[in-house]
């Protein structure tokens, strides 16, 4: 995955914030997953228009961490969710 990629929630995946964490449900696949607060925040920011770099910048600012670390973590997070089918990526 590249920092210039744009990611979007996969249609049909439903989410709900619960005490700062996010519960994701993909009814068609029978998948239920919980995202921790940082993951939930990235999930909230994903709108189908922001790039991975912009998501990482948002996390770096909110959590006060270095840009390089935020980028690496955001890429790893998005790649994991793409693998699980709850995020889709467009170049």
């Amino acid at each position: 995955m590249q920092l210039t990629d744009v990611v979007a929630h996969t249609p049909g995946v439903v989410s709900r914030m619960v005490d700062g964490e996010a519960v994701l449900v993909d009814p068609k696949k029978g998948m239920v997953r919980v995202l921790n607060p940082a993951g939930a925040r990235i999930w909230e920011m994903i709108d189908g228009r922001r790039t991975v770099a912009e998501l990482a910048a948002g996390i770096a600012a909110e959590y006060g961490i270095e840009a390089s670390r935020a980028q690496a973590d955001t890429i790893a997070f998005c790649e994991d969710l793409v693998r699980r089918g709850v995020l889709t990526v467009s170049k």
Partner: protein, 293 residues
Amino acid sequence: MSPDGRVNCLTMTATPLLFSLAGLRTRLECSPKDFAVDVLARFGPFIGPDDGETPVDFTAQVTFAGAQAHISDADLQVRLAGAECRFDTAAASGKLSLTTRSANLTLRSTSPIAQMEYFLRILYALLAEAHGGLMLHCAGILAPSGVHLFIGQSGSGKSTASSLSSGRGVVLNDDLIVLRPEKDYWIAHGTPFWNFETIDRDGQTASAPVAGIYTLVKDLAVYLEPMAAAAAVAALISSCPVVNGDPGRAPELMARCRQIVRAVPVQQLHFRKDPSFWDVLEVDEGRKTKDGG
């Protein structure tokens, strides 16, 4: 009718049958009569007398068209779309509509009662959800403090927990329980939908407030571990058969599971294959009582 108000299956007219579960009544119009008698024998404790005028929540016409040996007895294949549900296998075909509150089903299986049970499981998962409740894949055990629910998929230990509860409570069911809301708490209702291995324990129609919900972890040590609300909601959603596979129901299902988590403590129960987990649950109940919870 017997002295306890239940229907004597040997003398009752075959159809219609009034099936009642969790306060939700379904008029079952079964034919032919022999099939209706078999349905009555299987689900007897949940079937009451029907004067034909009792208001019902649902009406189902179920016809057993005769066993066809070449048809396999696979579970009902269900296509759920909004308020409608279609069954379209060779063994069972028909339609269920929550809008018209009616279903029409034709069975051709060599195991029509098993197919009937699958139909009723699906119907009551949908009815419970439509009436503000949920059907939960769990074992439910009625203890003095209320009903303790042990959730998890097959193999997680629900039946084990049930079998280890002798003398500690009454097993309402070891596979499926219906929950319905009541003011600020939830009532657990026994169902006739047992694991097939334990079908001889059928007949627990009791209901009582839910005292606690536990996800099961097989372990050498026995203890309770708090769960974050999101993990608890996720665990409940994973345990809601039928409705959790419908994208259209997902937002409401998530909201309802959140309501349950707000009202009922959900914890992880580490347990081993002996009844000692009940001591841990009783200590926890004592602590909640002391804390005024």
